[in-house]
């Protein structure tokens, strides 16, 4: 096991205590499959898992790769499996695990590019596919000023607009793990966010995606996606509300084959 060198300049008070982090390593240029590697890092009460990883990177093993940036749970970079649960490393604290080992792995259900870095192409392609922008009824000149939108109208979609694209919900969703074609919780939440926006008129255009085989019907209401969401977006709600709409739509079509029910 790699042991910590004593560093005077860490930005954390020196408590003399240490904690062991078991990190799932995968270096495609040398490893056939992922393997756990253990590191002993200094421990203090206010250290996040991210700070632990940064310590490893800075002083124990520069070859450990992981994504991070803002440190304040808003950029969405540092989602990973921490003791088996998808969490943001910056917002998960070692004190809640100490003195047990911390087990850190790349987000579940995504291919591992390297170490804790996943391949997120699939998520980005899905994000791009749902027309995640305002589709206006008719263009509104800037000179006419803003759309009026009451606080109540804003409240309707605000929660779904809070998604930071951290993908914890995908790592929580076994259906996505089993069928990666599933549009998935976060993206359906984003789609729902635009459909609910009083300025948007694009719901019809987004419908085929929602109602398709890989749309909402893949969801079996496990609900873990909403449990792990660090921003209380409740993507399961977006999926299931759309599921009901899709079902309603389906039956109305049966009744009125040519009508295309509302």
């Amino acid at each position: 096991m790699a042991r910590p060198e004593m560093q005077q300049d860490t930005e954390m008070p020196d408590s003399g205590k240490t904690i062991v982090m078991d990190v799932l390593r995968y270096r495609p240029e040398q490893d056939d499959r992922p393997v756990l590697q253990s590191y002993e890092v200094p421990f203090s009460d206010d250290m996040s898992v991210l700070q632990g990883l940064q310590y490893i990177k800075d002083y124990l093993d520069g070859s450990l790769s992981f994504r991070w940036s803002c440190r304040m749970a808003i950029c969405g970079s540092c989602g990973m499996m921490i003791n088996g649960r998808p969490q943001l490393a910056c917002k998960t604290f070692l004190r809640d695990i100490y003195p047990e080992h911390v087990r850190v792995e790349a987000l579940a259900h995504f291919p591992i590019e390297r170490d804790l870095v996943i391949v997120m192409d699939d998520f980005i392609e899905k994000l791009e596919s749902i027309k995640p922008y305002i589709i206006e009824k008719q263009p509104r000149p800037l000179a006419e000023g803003e759309y009026l939108q009451t606080p109540a109208e804003r409240d309707l979609y605000e929660q779904f607009s809070s998604c930071i694209n951290c993908m914890l919900c995908y790592a929580a969703c076994p259906q996505y793990g089993l069928n990666p074609k599933f549009l998935g919780p976060g993206i359906i939440a984003l789609l729902h966010r635009y459909n609910l926006d009083s300025r948007d008129a694009g719901a019809e255009q987004r419908k085929p995606l929602v109602n398709s085989e890989d749309g909402v019907y893949n969801c079996t209401a496990v609900g873990f996606c909403s449990e792990v969401c660090p921003k209380l977006v409740d993507p399961a709600n977006a999926v299931n509300v759309n599921k009901m709409e899709a079902a309603k739509d389906y039956f109305l079509r049966l009744v009125r084959p040519r009508g295309g029910g509302k």
């Binding site: 990177k57 390297r114 109208e153």
Partner: protein, 588 residues
């Protein structure tokens, strides 16, 4: 080497880069846009901006007020014609964002709401709760998907600009996932890479804010302007430096010293009143508030915690409901990171480095001195922030000048001829070789983290809130030493796939050069103005000698060459910068 032929290449996909990309796409859908970013766009640091974005909207407000607040707030080191353009274009850009879906907070009648911010005469800060940057960034990113001419190169790390025939003609980048190099040919290049706050120890910035674009332009002969002006934000989390938005004070929060006393009244910002009053007390400008903290610390009136001195940001009187409505993220941060319920306890805060006022020198149309090269956002110095940026002007800047940089680059690209690919490839290959050297011949003994920490510590000591010639000189010397030691850097990881060890070494190279520009600009400015405050005989503003922009020029391995440029004054002659009752007396 892979080659991609674009018309306009944009480096950086934060607020400014995305806004510029959309502007190019709208200017001419036939132009091929390459949007290159070392992170996925929604990770860009715009995401962390909290409080809001300025634009005149209330009937009792005026463009002149916004102009005066900005120019006075910048201690008259602003390009006044550019500020005029800026304030005039803020409202339409905020409305544009609204049309694109930005979830601005609203008044009961459905109109956009505005809040108070520091240094502002009238409330004009548009906000989306306390996640304004997050919402603006995601709105811009998602809107950019509408435009098929924008080709994104996510997680591509820019290592160099390619110039030939006296103009910029592309960029070279590493595809992070594979470690392969790509040349993006372009007739115009826009740099939108953000600030350099990570050169300091305690800062509010994300890990990616390493001044990359500044260093790239600097190495290609473009001056970095006014780099000595680093903004300390007065209310940050001790230790991590995480930001508690100015909106905490805009909503009515108090700053208290260890005696529970609102100490700002002792520093020309009073008198203290219960209700927030624009330009008084906690709604003074950031530089003044950070300086007041420093004095309180000298007087022994601050509190003391594991990360040193702090004061209390008291939000308790606002009540839980309002905090959750207006400042939900602040609430969450205080609870999760500090175990504090801000409705019940005050939040310990201290100043930390927040924003790089200076940057790549550009004219009022975002053009640099290198033809075809544009810069916008925090990496640029377009001239609106002067010696101290007003809170909520930076988000507005991204939009107003992002759009302008886009349209300017688009028209330049349309008139510029295509370059000679062969010679561009040769130049790109040379850049590639230099960067690969770093990987291959890097069995040195110097740890990246050690150099980075020594740099950050030294910057804090020499270029902090108050500055002395001796400590600035020590920092300049230290930085020179660190650049020497950097040649002996150790990159442990020799692989290609997602090798962040390698990227951090490149970033450190950028940081050291930008840090030098900051320190040398600082030691040469022998006056006190805005965020540059000296205690060694230059305590006063000196308009006779220093109403000038400092210009730092790259000088290879030697220290930067510092020159000075004129400041454009149109309608506001330098005056007394006063806040509180003194400000009213001075007619601000």
């Amino acid at each position: 080497m892979e080659i991609y032929a674009a018309d306009v290449a944009i480096v950086g996909a934060g607020g400014a880069g995305l806004r510029a990309a959309i502007a190019v796409a709208e200017a001419d859908p036939a132009l091929r846009i390459a949007l290159i970013s070392k992170v996925y766009p929604m990770r860009s640091h715009t995401v962390a901006a909290e409080g809001g974005s300025a634009a005149v909207v209330q009937s009792q407000d005026s463009l002149d007020y916004h102009f005066n607040d900005t120019v006075g707030g910048g201690d008259w080191l602003c390009e006044q014609d550019v500020v005029e353009y800026f304030v005039a274009h803020c409202p339409e850009e905020m409305v544009q964002l609204e049309h694109w879906g930005c979830p601005w907070s609203r008044k009961p009648d459905g109109h956009v709401n505005v809040r108070a911010f520091g240094g502002m005469k009238i409330e004009r800060t548009w906000f989306a709760a306390d996640k304004t940057g997050f919402h603006m960034l995601h709105t811009l990113f998602q809107t950019s998907i509408k435009y098929p001419s924008i080709r994104r190169f996510d997680e591509h790390f820019c290592i160099d600009l390619v110039d030939a025939d006296g103009r910029v003609q592309g960029i070279v980048a590493i595809e992070i996932r594979s470690g392969r190099f790509i040349l993006v040919k372009a007739k115009a290049v826009i740099i939108a890479t953000g600030g350099a706050g990570r050169v300091f120890r305690e800062n509010t910035n994300g890990g990616i804010v390493t001044g990359d674009g500044m260093a790239l332009a600097y190495r290609h002969g473009v001056a970095l302007r006014d780099m000595e002006f680093m903004q300390y934000h007065p209310t940050c989390m001790p230790g991590t430096g995480l930001l508690f938005t100015e909106a905490c004070r805009g909503e009515g929060g108090f700053l208290l010293n260890k005696d529970g006393y609102r100490y700002l009244q002792d520093y020309g910002l009073g008198p203290a009143q219960d209700k927030p009053r624009n330009k008084y007390m906690e709604l003074g400008p950031r530089d003044r508030l950070s300086q007041a903290f420093w004095y309180e610390q000298q007087k022994g009136r601050t509190l003391s915690g594991p990360y040193g001195a702090y004061v209390d940001l008291d939000l308790r009187h606002l009540g839980k409901a309002r905090l959750l409505e207006r400042l939900p993220q602040i609430y969450e941060m205080a609870e999760t990171f500090m175990g504090i319920d801000p409705a019940k306890q005050p939040i310990p805060v201290r100043p930390a480095v927040h924003y790089t006022m200076g940057g790549i020198t550009v004219d009022g149309r975002c053009a640099t001195s290198l033809p075809g090269l544009y810069a916008v956002g925090e990496c640029a110095s377009v001239g609106i922030h002067g010696a101290n940026r007003l809170g909520s002007n930076s988000l507005a800047e991204l939009c107003v000048f992002g759009k302008l940089a886009g349209t300017e680059a688009a028209s330049f690209a349309k008139s510029a001829p295509s370059g000679d690919t062969k010679s561009l490839v040769a130049r790109a290959a040379a850049s590639q070789q230099r960067i690969e050297e770093l990987l291959k011949n890097s069995d040195g003994s110097e740890r990246i983290a050690t150099l980075r920490k020594e740099m950050a510590q030294s910057m804090e000591e020499g270029c902090g809130i108050y500055r002395l010639a001796g400590s600035m000189q020590a920092t300049c010397d230290k930085l020179m030493e660190l650049r020497q030691r950097f040649r002996n850097i150790k990159v442990e990881d020799k692989s290609r796939v997602w090798n962040s060890n390698w990227l951090m070494a490149i970033e450190l190279g950028y940081q050291l050069e930008v840090a030098q520009a900051i320190a040398h600009s600082a030691i040469n400015r022998k006056e006190s103005r805005g965020a540059h405050q000296r205690l060694d005989g230059y305590e006063k503003r000196d308009d006779v000698n220093y109403l000038k922009h400092s210009l730092a020029y790259f000088n290879a391995d030697a220290a930067p060459r510092i020159e000075y440029g004129a400041v454009k004054i149109t309608k506001s002659q330098p005056g007394i910068r006063a806040y509180g009752a003194a400000g009213d007396a001075a007619g601000h």
